[in-house]
Subunit: 347 residues, 2 copies
Amino acid sequence: ALAAPAIAQSNPKVTWRIASSFPKSLDTIYGGAEVFSKMLSEATDGNFQVQVFAAGEIVPGLQAADAAANGTVEGCHTVAYYYVGKDPTWALGAAVPFALNARGMNAWHYHGGGIALFNEFLAKQGLYGLPGGNTGVQMGGWFRKEINTVADLQGLKMRIGGFAGQVLSKLGVVPQQIAGGDIYPALEKGTIDAAEWVGPYDDEKLGFQKVAPYYYYPGFWEGGPTVHLMFNKAKYEELSPAYKSLVHTAAQAADANMLQKYDYLNPTAIKNLVANGAQLRPFSQEILSASFDAANEVYADVEGKNPDFKKIWESIKAFRKDYYVNMQIAEYNYDTFMMIQQRGSKL
Amino acid sequence: ALAAPAIAQSNPKVTWRIASSFPKSLDTIYGGAEVFSKMLSEATDGNFQVQVFAAGEIVPGLQAADAAANGTVEGCHTVAYYYVGKDPTWALGAAVPFALNARGMNAWHYHGGGIALFNEFLAKQGLYGLPGGNTGVQMGGWFRKEINTVADLQGLKMRIGGFAGQVLSKLGVVPQQIAGGDIYPALEKGTIDAAEWVGPYDDEKLGFQKVAPYYYYPGFWEGGPTVHLMFNKAKYEELSPAYKSLVHTAAQAADANMLQKYDYLNPTAIKNLVANGAQLRPFSQEILSASFDAANEVYADVEGKNPDFKKIWESIKAFRKDYYVNMQIAEYNYDTFMMIQQRGSKL
């Protein structure tokens, strides 16, 4: 028999499945995994195929990381804070109240050791993760009534989860867990008083302004939430060095692309929302300050009990302190001047 | 003879040279092309090789795009506004005074049709371009004396070029063209009164605070300057579809990576600069407003004469108007609250 010719097959066939935590209707966030998949396929002449499954197609959206960890699928596209029930450390890879904005989070992930630190933690779960999207600062959500003081939060039933729910519950909010499709009727009937979702572009599709018109900002619990691509660690390690590098490159590009798309789509959406009855309201300084203090109490408590959490949170905090020094100089003053021009109808 | 086996060579050998407009000492901005090159090489098992040459190694930095257009090299890593002498339209791919910040510029490039629009223009120059980095809002530069009013700008000799120089000359500034290495002695001797460079990380290396301690912000002429990867159009079109796609993916990743790196490095640099004598000063509202008006006069003048400029600038302006509506809601209020905490030593 003839020996096989010694030509390296530089793009081996790999077929992966990725479980998304998102429905296809959230086209920008769900679409982030599709963008990643297209980049891999195109760069390898179709040899590295990643098929993306919407939430519920293989596993429910909130079990996407479990499915990747146990090998049901090779990877997932999810938000790490969905898994705080297992360990609060998960949230630090994505967002916790009053952490960094999107640019800060990315600076920390890519250059401040964040990717490596969070992977030390994910490795224990059998996963390898990379940032794979960001929404920017989210909105604070939809409220049936105006809230001005901390007293107004007493007994307020709000659809909000994770760390944010824990922080707000210290101020009297009663956090509710409700699936996306059930929020509208719950707000309409008054079963709940408020609900947070994402930001203008995604919120516009759901029409909450008709039943809870007060649209508060900022969503201080999500200053720059990182959406993650997480892979089964063993499956990731089986990849060739070239494919591993390509996965990193495509993830970094897809990560950037999601925020770029939101930044392009949100301006039109916020105008439409306001035209259709949304009443924009800033959270008062009293509410923000009380929430900031409550968040710090929660962090101090968790740090005392959880060394993984402490290690990563201390790293984020150290960077956050200096990051917001620098951002208040050229960036903030440039934006402020441009916003004044916008308000003066000069743009 | 045996027929060659029918195995597609999916990663053909390609060797390109890229002329950078930057010296290696500007490691973050120069390094952007190295990051891009590494991504291509790794993903193709070393088959797609891009060698990066610093400014002056093949051609002077300000001739990098010419070298790519005429085929001396296959590509360049440059800032499009360096070529405003040929046509002011060049500047719109990078930055003009009072345009978008980095996130806005990227939203416009990737989702607002900016890449396609700018490539209509670049095609006439024999080039194909993609965003390949961003510095964020730059600083306004180093001044020997404080400037508070427009009157203080009269006769001020400032190292500044392009559109910014044109705008400031309307207010009495005398723009000077001086190569990077010559700025320090010119400031020291008083041959010039002021000089703009980049931002904290790059400025720190040059020690300008010793001879011109007033460090003004923001650099309103560079709210979010895009650094470009530009390729000889014919050479780009010879690439396989897989390589073209990989070039896009790697450029988008390298583009994001540069801003992420600056955002990580600038905070430490600004602290060092202040510790070493830099005096931070905001430009007064009078100077900013007069500059904004002067910029609009320049744009109206150029738009009347240059249809290419008009087409692209109208696209940027239309997006800018809505972008700064949205950014003043969740993003601005989140950042403001965090900056107040920073000033109160609560971070």
